[in-house]
Symmetry: C2
Subunit: 188 residues, 2 copies
């Protein structure tokens, strides 16, 4: 399971597996782009490096944060460019790509849709335990949270089936990981 | 010279050459994406088809419209995704990518930065003359206008040199094609 946190400057990625309910960080990295290069060259770097990471580490499914709103149209355009390249690179590598919105990721990993970045980061480290050594970058940590979200959702979808998807637990407690939250796919 | 007009639904492209001051449309097309497919699959289609068009038709330079503002953050994000993939696909095909803003394209092709879409389309058809047959799509026509803009600019940069770049002609007349307008590169 490859989680990706795209950005025009830094794109974090993390390959997380889950065996017997425990998370393992297999590989993680950050693709840095040269701020002095043209936008086309920077996007090509994201395209090539992310595709290479997906293929080399034999990821078989990917997830990316879904975005619906943004402060300004200008920053949305810049983020959209990096995000579009990440989605295309993953699809080009043959991976199905799932999208989860920010509150779903926070709720899945930290137990609350309103958890802050720090709380999510701490929960990622806690869930990974001794496998956390490589996660020095916040971008890779965010990518980890996205990969974990998919594990928690995919597992539940299989375990509970469609009938029980509406079941709701306390959103402020990690027990809410048992809830299958809506998986949102962006369609333009 | 490959001009590209990116969009999440329709991405127009046109290969335009210029011999002895006359434009020739070598090839043009529109990449349509399936509105029922996931965004990742649609972006992969743009990535693969645009890269294939650039390589098959042996383009050696590309140009895309630069965008600085947009009505809403949501639509900017969607357009940004398609645009980012187009830039990365062209760079991945080994082409240097130039960016021109909308008013530069209008001024270069139609003689006024405030020309409407229809005026630009008519001028494209007029400038291409008998080579216009393939241009049934507005997306390919827009791509043509972008390719022509690059020809007009690149030619002038070589012909006038840096000393005469500040020379200004009447912006409402096609004679203004002789003016070297600023080439804008987007940096995030």
């Amino acid at each position: 399971m490859l989680g990706v946190d795209p950005g025009s400057r830094h794109t974090g990625w993390a390959l997380v597996t889950r065996v017997a309910g425990r998370f393992h960080l297999e590989a993680a990295g950050v693709i840095h782009t040269d701020p002095d290069a043209t936008m086309a060259d920077r996007l090509r770097t994201i395209l090539r490096d992310l595709r290479a990471a997906a293929v080399l580490h034999r990821a078989n499914v990917a997830s990316v944060e879904a975005i619906f709103s943004h402060r300004s149209a200008q920053s949305a355009l810049v983020l959209g460019q990096a995000r579009g390249v990440a989605l295309a690179a993953l699809a080009d590598a043959g991976l199905p790509v799932h999208e989860y919105n920010a509150s779903t990721i926070k709720q899945s990993v930290a137990g609350s849709g309103k958890a802050d970045k720090l709380q999510v980061g701490r929960m990622v480290e806690m869930l990974l335990g001794e496998h956390t050594v490589a996660l020095t970058s916040e971008h890779a940590r965010d990518a980890c949270a996205i990969a974990m979200t998919h594990h928690l959702h995919a597992g539940r979808v299989l375990a509970l089936g469609p009938q029980k998807r509406a079941r709701r637990l306390d959103p402020r407690s990690p027990a809410s990981w048992g809830v299958t939250l809506p998986v949102v796919k962006v369609r333009a």
